[in-house]
């Protein structure tokens, strides 16, 4: 019984939250994206639908920026009430040695349009994430996850968690594809469904159900 209790669910947020999932190979490495950011005047936008990996990519960019010695910070916007923290962060990120990421920019609503010109003039490097293109912000990357990427992520998550590790056989490629499309490419929601699968299956395997 004890052994069973040690099974970690590889789809828990502990393993899937932004910054934890490893960088996925794309034509644009974080370094390339930072170069592109500089060519676009230090402003850039990562856009893509819900759960497409925008926050994860933002954390990877932050790590790459920190590796260059820049002073980095990410502000996560949860509602319009975060207008003031966003404003303070923008004001503080003055000069080329600063890199600021603002996650879920569109949640600021119309107030975001007031902050955008200020952010553009501060001189630091600023990257926003949003679901759609934003006026005046160059697009660094438009994320559109696909089923093969999802399968690759699942395989990586399963492999990094100790324990019996037999779940890989439970998820056939077509099953994973069906989950991916059921959630319309929302990786976060797809991981949540796999989390539930894992909990059900591990409990049934040991006769708990």
């Amino acid at each position: 019984m004890t052994d069973r209790r040690l099974w970690s669910n590889p789809f828990a947020t502990r393993y899937t939250r932004p910054g934890v999932i490893a960088w996925q190979p794309t034509p644009d490495s974080p370094e390339v994206l930072l170069e592109r950011l500089d060519r676009s005047g230090g402003r850039g936008l990562i856009c893509g639908p819900h759960g497409s990996g925008k926050s994860t990519l933002l954390r990877h960019l932050m790590a790459a920026a920190a590796g260059r010695g820049w002073k980095t910070r990410v502000v996560a916007i949860r509602s319009r009430a975060d207008f003031w923290p966003a404003l303070r962060a923008i004001v503080a990120a003055t000069g080329r040695g600063h890199w600021l990421g603002i996650d879920s920019w569109e949640k600021l609503g119309p107030a975001g349009r007031l902050l955008a010109p200020l952010a553009a003039r501060r001189g630091g490097r600023i990257v926003l994430t949003a679901h759609r293109p934003q006026d005046g912000w160059p697009i660094l990357l438009n994320l559109q996850p696909d089923a093969p990427t999802f399968r690759r992520l699942v395989s990586r998550l399963l492999s990094q968690v100790d324990g019996p590790g037999t779940m890989a056989a439970e998820f056939a490629p077509d099953q994973l594809d069906a989950i991916f499309w059921r959630h319309r490419g929302n990786l976060r929601e797809a991981f949540f469904e796999l989390y539930d699968h894992f909990e059900r299956d591990t409990r049934s395997l040991i006769g708990e159900v």
Binding site: T2, R5, S8, N9, D162, F192, D196
Partner: protein
């Protein structure tokens, strides 16, 4: 036991250290207020390459929502140039560097819990710092309390 390490670390080192933890009295289940007595051994690595060892006892949540955690014990052992250990409030490891042990009294909560959408896990965490600047984290789960494993409802609540 769960061991985690950065992928970059795994790729950068041909061999990873092996950390084993022993619980006294030879079990990993404790009641609230019990003394947790533990020893750990670090193997498969040259001790001279280790500059510091952090030992901690933590609890954390694991599930579908936001995470939470608490630290009830933490210390950091540092190897100086002569190979001795400093900053060591519960010294018992100096002679066997980087292996060692410690004991603490466990709190009354939170109790270990194996739920469907959230779990509460307790673990001993041993983190090794190398002269290269890299680090390696090893976690060893134990149980506080004896809350039964949660089971899914057989019939949905109307």
């Amino acid at each position: 036991m769960t061991e985690r390490t950065a992928v970059a670390e795994a790729l950068a080192t041909a061999t990873l250290p092996r950390v084993t933890v022993s619980f006294a009295p030879d079990q990993a289940e404790y009641a609230p207020g019990d003394m947790l007595e533990t020893s750990y051994r670090v193997a498969a690595i040259d001790p001279a390459t280790i500059t510091a060892v952090e030992r901690s006892v933590v609890w954390y949540t694991e599930g579908k929502g936001e995470e939470d955690f608490g630290v009830i014990f933490f210390d950091r052992l540092i190897a100086d140039s002569s190979g001795t250990v400093s900053d060591e409030p519960t010294a018992s490891a100096a002679a066997d560097w980087p292996s060692g042990g410690f004991s603490i009294r466990l709190p009354s909560s939170p109790l270990s819990y194996e739920g469907l959408i959230v779990k509460i896990r307790w673990c001993i965490r041993v983190r090794l710092f190398f002269s290269s600047g890299r680090d390696f984290v090893s976690e060893h789960v134990f149980f506080l309390g004896d809350i039964p494993v949660a089971r899914p409802l057989r019939h949905p609540v109307p």
